[in-house]
Structure formats: C-alpha cells, structure tokens
Symmetry: C2
Subunit: 467 residues, 2 copies
C-alpha cells in the first residue's frame, strides 16, 4: 500500500517514535510537579519548546502546545478575536482557509457580535491582495487569517505582501501554517501562528500555537493556568517531545526532500493530462508547496475513483462532493471556481519514492476509466427539437457526476446555437457545469434558482452549444 | 523512586503501551478516510469505543473521545449548559469539584447570563444533599455537577441520592468520574459523564465524554463533524486504543486491587497520627475510594514537606498554599474547613507495593520534623501584658505556616482567658488558625477584616486561651 495522503497526516516519524518511547519513561509525570519525575518532565518540555520555537522563528515564551492542530487553530482564532474585539469585530479570512479556521472565525464573530468576511482567491486558490486591501479599508478588522499554503491544492499564499498590508492597517495576521511546517520556512510577519504535528510526522494529539509578544490575545475558554492560559489541560510531554524531535529532524532535511518532491509533483502535473482525457490539474503550477498535486476528472465520481485507487494500492484524498458527509464539494475548489468532480489530491509523505509515483501514473488511467460511468447503450442521443428554442435537461435528484454526463450526452442532439437548460439540485453542479463548459469549449450563460417549491440547491444552468 | 501521586496521572499501563505501539502501525491514519488505512483505523476506533462504553455502562453512540480529561470536563460542562440554557441558567456544582469543572461552569454561566452556585460539603468533603435540595428548589437549574469521588481527599459522593434528587427536579446530573474510572464502578443516574485516561493508566491526551441519549447538549465550540460534533479535532486512534486497553485491563482486576489498596490506605490513616504529632488525617475514613489518603501537619510547610519526601524517594502532592502558584490553599480543603498547612496527598498507583507504604511510614516522621521550622532559640516566650486585655500578634506579611507557629509561641505567654488578636494576610490563615484552635483545644472566637488601607486578605483572628 502506498500512502499519498500526507497532507491529512503522516505516520509517526521514526525519530519521533523513539523520542516518544524515551519520554514515556522519563517525561510521563506532570511537569508542574515539584518531585523528581515532575522536574524531569519539565526539562523535556522546556527542551521541546526551545527546539520547536527555533524552527518556527519565535521565542520559547511565545509558544504553547495544544491538544491537536485543530485546537491550535481554534484557540488561535478565538483568542485573537477576543483580544481584538474592541479594535475590530470584522474577521477577514481567505475563502480557502482550512475549515477549522473558518468555523472558529464564525463562532468568534457570533460571540463578539461581528461578522466574518471571506477574502476571494484567484483560480489557483491564491488570495487576492487587492481585495484584501479593500476589505481592510472598509471596516475595523479584528484580524486577517491567511494560511501559509493551501492544504488542498498546494498553492502558496503571498504572505509577505499580506503581512505588509495588515501591518499597514495595524491589523494582526493569523497564519495557519499546518501545510508547510517542517517542509518550508514560514515567512515572517505573523502575529499568531498555528500548526499540527501530525502533518510533519509528529504524533497525533499535538498542535503548536505561537502568539507574538505584544499581540492582544485573550482566552475564550475555561481558566487554566497551564501553557500560559492559552491551552487548557496538561501538556502531553511524551507526545510533545516526539513532535519536536520529528520537526527538528525534518527541518534539517527539508530543502533536499523538497527539491525531490517538487520534481515528482511536477512530473505528475505534466503527465496526468497526457494520460487521462478530460482532466483539470489545479493549483499554481510553480508557486506551491512541493508535496501536493490536485486534479479533477470530468465525468468521474470522486468516491469511485478513491476506491479504484485504493484497490490499486494507493491512498489519496478527494474534495468531490460525493466523498464528503455533507455532499457538498470542497469549499476550496468552490472558491477557486474549478471542476470538483472526480477530484483527487496526491500529497507525498516524507519518504515518498519515485517508483511509486511512476506506478501511480501507470494505474491512474484505468482507475479513472473505471470511475466514469459506462456510456449508455443508446446508439443515438435522445432526439431533441431542432431549432433555436431551449431544450430542457432534467437532472434533478441526480448526483455528481451525472448531471454533467447527461449534459454531455444531450448537447450533441441540439443544433449549434441552441441553449440547453440543465435542471440540477446537486450543489456540485454549480462548479461542475461551468467547468465542463470551459473544458469542452461550450458557452456557459449563467444559472438561476428554480424558485419556490423546489429544493434549495435546485437551479437551472444555461449552456449554449457553440460548435 | 516511589510514585505515590497516581491521582495526578499514572504512568502508561504496559498493556496500553503495547496497544499504542500496535495502533501506530495499524491505526495511524484518519478514521474518516475511505482507503484501507483509514478503514483499519476506523475499526480500531470502533472497537475502543465499544470496550470503553461497556466499562462506563453506556452505549457506544453515547461516548466520544476528547483530547484530554480537562477537555472532557470542559466540553461536558459547556455543552450541557448551552443545551439547557432555556431550562435553567443557574449551574450548581459541589464546592469540591475539580477546578476544570468549576472554571468551565463559571465561563458557561457568564456566556449564558446565569450564575454558578457552589453546593456546600461536610467536613469530609461530601456534598450536603439537603443543601442541594434547597438549591434545586430555589431557581431553575441548568445542571447539577457532582464528582464520583473527591480527587484530593478520596471521599465518595452520594451519587445515588444526588441522581434521584436531580431526576426529581428534571435536572441533568454531570458526573466527573476521573478519580474512580477504572477503579470503581460508576453509579447510574448521570446524564453527562467525564473522565481522563491518564488517571486509569492510559496515555496522556485522551479524555472520555459520555452524553446520555435524550440529554439536551449543544456544542459551544467551533463546528466540527468528527466525534458527533462533541469533540473537535481528529480522534487520536493509537492513544484512544491504548486508553481503552488499559481501562479494560484494570476494570477486570479493579475489585482485587481495590481491596489491597484499601488495606494500605487504612494502615496509613491509622499509623500517621501515631507517628507524627499534630497531624490531621482528612476525608471520610470509610466511604472513600481505595487509593487516596490525605493529611495535614500543623506547623509544617507543604512545599518543604514535598521536597523532604522527594529527597527520601517519594513523589506525592500537596494542597497547601505554598505549593500553589496562586499561593492560596486548595479550594477543596477550604470548602471542608480543615487544616491546609503541611498538606500531603498520597495516591497509590495500580502497582503500589506494601513495602513501599511501610517505608513511607518509616521516613515520614523525619520528613515532617525537617519541614517544621526550628523552634526559636529564645528561652522564654516574649512576655505579654498580664491581664484580660487583648494581645496583638502581628503576622502580617508572613506566609503559612508562620502565623500559626507565631500564635503557638505566644499563647503560652498570656493568662488563661486572655484573647490573642492575630493579624495575618496569608489566605491560608483563614483555614489554619481555626484548625489550630480545634487541634490544640483553644477557643476560636472569629475573624474580621482589617479594613481600608490593608491587603485584601488581611484579617484579625481572635483566639482565646482556654487552658
């Protein structure tokens, strides 16, 4: 089995595992205790904090450990929002932040009587600095949240420009660096930084939260004196030591491993469109983290594709609606306005091997073929009324990728210049019908709600045949 | 080194350690993932949930895992308070609950515009059911929180009566069972149950939170679909499996180990007052968990005593003010109204040995002697005005145990019937001066604030010499 879902979490690094086992013997007691075992745990905790702070580029007393990367993001957002509530209640976050940041910002805004405003991104998923500037000028802002790089498509965010802009407005910048910690240096300029040890080969159950001296930050959780009051609960010393050890080990090799991964992902980006028809590789082709590649396959079901790849021995993830419990496509792909069906994210673990990438390319075409529904046995597309009047394609109740497949089947039956009115209530159609038009060269004229009596997501999509 | 601080957290149980290592290989991936590693992690998580639910006496779908025992208590309190905010905004908690429960209740009350009301306890730390009944009759109550047993003195709480009382008022009962899970069965009747794996020999970083079907419970944290929305962040499968394994292993032996520990703690309770002068053993002598004994030593500094015992090879904890970063005595000892100086809690780990308990008894008298300040070289106590007028003992600025030592030195210099007015600003004096009077047979007449211009905690304590 080849694991290509490193961006979800990696297996514990061997150096981290060894540190964990050592700390189970030497650092298991409470580091706030006065007896020998407590003092020993305190020394290990201090050492882990120093080592981690050095990699993050902050002081040890600016850094606390949390119970997970999710907690680090939640506490970073809630603490900064509360600390800054007097200065500004509008919270600005890029539309492609991790859901932990977005959900925490929504709660913080609700608690403080403010609102969250998403900052739009370009087609690669990069936040638009000009839009951010407008948002910062429009209302008193509590904070700006922009990740180091996107977790689904790998695009790096323009943090240096964003930090300058935020500083110019006197607004703190919160950076979720979960994607890049241990892989790439974090650009300076943040006020609050959050990360997750699982994503750098540390154990589950450890997050990092750094708050720059001078940042207004106020606990929005029950009082607890440990970890400066920023992270309730006892610090898990063995896991923290394992996390720090893995981070240090990786940081030392990060440049070399990054170069190798960049070559492998560049190969995937180049070869996939050659090997698979009707595929869209998304995310910035150059300015991106080295280990992530994402692509979407027209007409394919993301879930079927995941299972085909699993059968072929590859573990990957998907942002397609059919793989989410909510049955909506990834909010990242949605903000970018790219195809969401048959979506696959390949993210390379630290020890990824070139031969496994080659083998992935070898199995991918068959997997995609199997994940695309069989063409209908009907020899001819359903005849449609010839002439300029609109033809209705009713795909209500049919899930991704079926509305697009239906559309593809029916467009051949209408004359050039005719308009198809596709009725669909799968939320993924909002992304996938325009993407289909872009990829096949047909004209997308827009969409409209179906009106009262129909499901909330039910819309009519107008597509004009151009060739 | 002998570790007698199990109630703070135990070293990882060998069976739990083995399970953790196995799950690092088989259960490290995200249990929400569709590929093989994800399915394998899901199976392990499901098995851990089933096994834990069985010990807790609940259904698997009533149980989630949190990032720590502290988180379980926080989320239990915040979720129940929010779910019940319409029914009642007064939150009742026993005065001796763990600080994680009390702090979360304070925050929940502040958020919901209500208040927390402490339910008083008797001198053993047992909640007064009659007082609880009054509180439940006085206002619409959101919940009642009563622990299974007290974490500092071991006294079991009357949960069966409390549960009946709460049910009679239609008010849910929240039980923090951290002290007893894995050691004793949890009485039925709870609506929300919280616990901590570290306290039963599981790893750090795992808490359990059970919410009975039908309980109104509402997330008061950022949206996250994992663990039913009750615990944000990815479940840490290896640690959860280790926790469940340790809990199962312990539950099977709990009765036998409990009997052995009960004998050892009964021995400590009986022998300590024989071996050490001026000592008060606290907590219920009979109706208590088997592994905890707590006592306080008049005239001794808790911190000095901890360090003496550490030097003699024993790790224990203390509720004395001098061992707390806040310099206030434990709120548990305060609610009980017992001596707080020279306080020591001995809590036996699972594998405690009788010979270590014997050795503890052997080293304790010397350790207490060393922790009591040397008597003054002055051959005679300072002469005081003979006669009925009040003599002032100025102990302002002197920390525990010095005000009581000063009092003990001076009382011999006044005639029987005279009153000493002890001025002290150490918060521990509130507990320790009345306790000293009780233990030495002198008369405590009361205390009064020193008035404007003096420190907040500064009071005058009136003591009448009776013999």
């Amino acid at each position: 089995m080849v694991y290509f879902d490193a961006a979800s979490g990696e297996q514990l690094d061997p150096a981290g595992r060894e540190a964990y086992l050592a700390a189970l013997a030497e650092g298991w007691a409470g580091p706030d205790r006065l007896y020998r075992e407590g003092r020993s745990a305190r020394m290990l905790l201090d050492a882990a904090r120093e080592a981690t702070a050095e990699v993050l580029g902050c002081r040890a007393d600016e850094l606390v450990f949390t119970g997970s990367g999710t907690s680090a993001a939640h506490q970073g957002v809630l603490g900064l929002a509360k600390g800054r509530a007097r200065a500004g209640r509008t919270l600005v976050a890029s539309a492609v932040e991790h859901s932990s940041v977005l959900h925490a910002a929504e709660l913080a805004a609700a608690r403080n009587g403010g609102e969250t405003v998403p900052a739009p991104v370009d087609v690669h998923g990069r936040v638009r600095v000009d839009s951010l500037a407008e948002l910062l000028g429009a209302a008193p802002v509590g904070f700006v949240a922009v990740q180091s790089a996107n977790h689904e498509v790998g695009t790096r965010q323009p943090l240096t420009e964003v930090a300058e802009l935020a500083a110019g407005h006197g607004v703190p910048l919160l950076v979720d660096a979960a994607v890049s910690l241990g892989r790439e240096p974090v650009p300076a300029g943040w006020s609050v930084l959050a990360g997750s040890a699982r994503k750098w080969g540390g154990p589950a159950g450890v997050g990092v939260l750094a708050v720059r001296k001078g940042t207004r930050f106020a606990a929005d959780w029950p009082e607890d004196e440990r970890e400066r009051g920023w992270s309730p609960g006892p610090p898990n010393v063995p896991a923290i030591l394992a996390a720090a050890t893995a981070l240090r080990a990786r940081s030392a090799q990060a440049q070399e491993v990054g170069l190798a991964h960049r070559e492998l992902t560049a190969l995937l980006r180049a070869r996939i469109p050659e090997l698979v028809p009707d595929v869209e590789v998304v995310g910035d082709p150059e300015d991106r983290v080295p280990h992530i590649v994402t692509f979407s396959c027209l007409y394919a079901s993301g879930e079927a594709l995941l299972l085909e790849l699993d059968r072929a021995g590859f573990a990957v993830s998907s942002g397609s609606s059919c793989t989410a419990s909510t049955l909506t496509p990834s909010h990242v792909l949605e903000a970018m306005g790219v195809l969401s069906q048959g979506n696959i994210r390949v993210s390379l673990p630290w020890d990824a091997r070139a031969e496994d990438v080659q083998r992935f390319l070898a199995v991918l075409p068959d997997a995609v073929r199997a994940a695309r529904p069989e063409p209908d046995r009907d020899p001819e597309p359903e005849p449609a009324a010839p002439g300029p009047e609109t033809v209705v394609v009713d795909a209500l109740g049919r899930l991704c990728p079926l509305p697009v497949i239906e559309l593809g089947k029916r467009i051949g039956g209408v004359p050039v210049g005719a308009v198809l009115r596709v009725l669909a209530d799968d939320p993924a159609a909002r992304l996938d019908i325009p993407a289909w038009c872009r990829m096949t060269g047909q004209d997308f004229l827009g969409d409209e709600p179906l009106g009262p009596g129909s499901a909330e997501a039910a819309r009519a999509y107008l597509v004009k045949r151009t060739h």
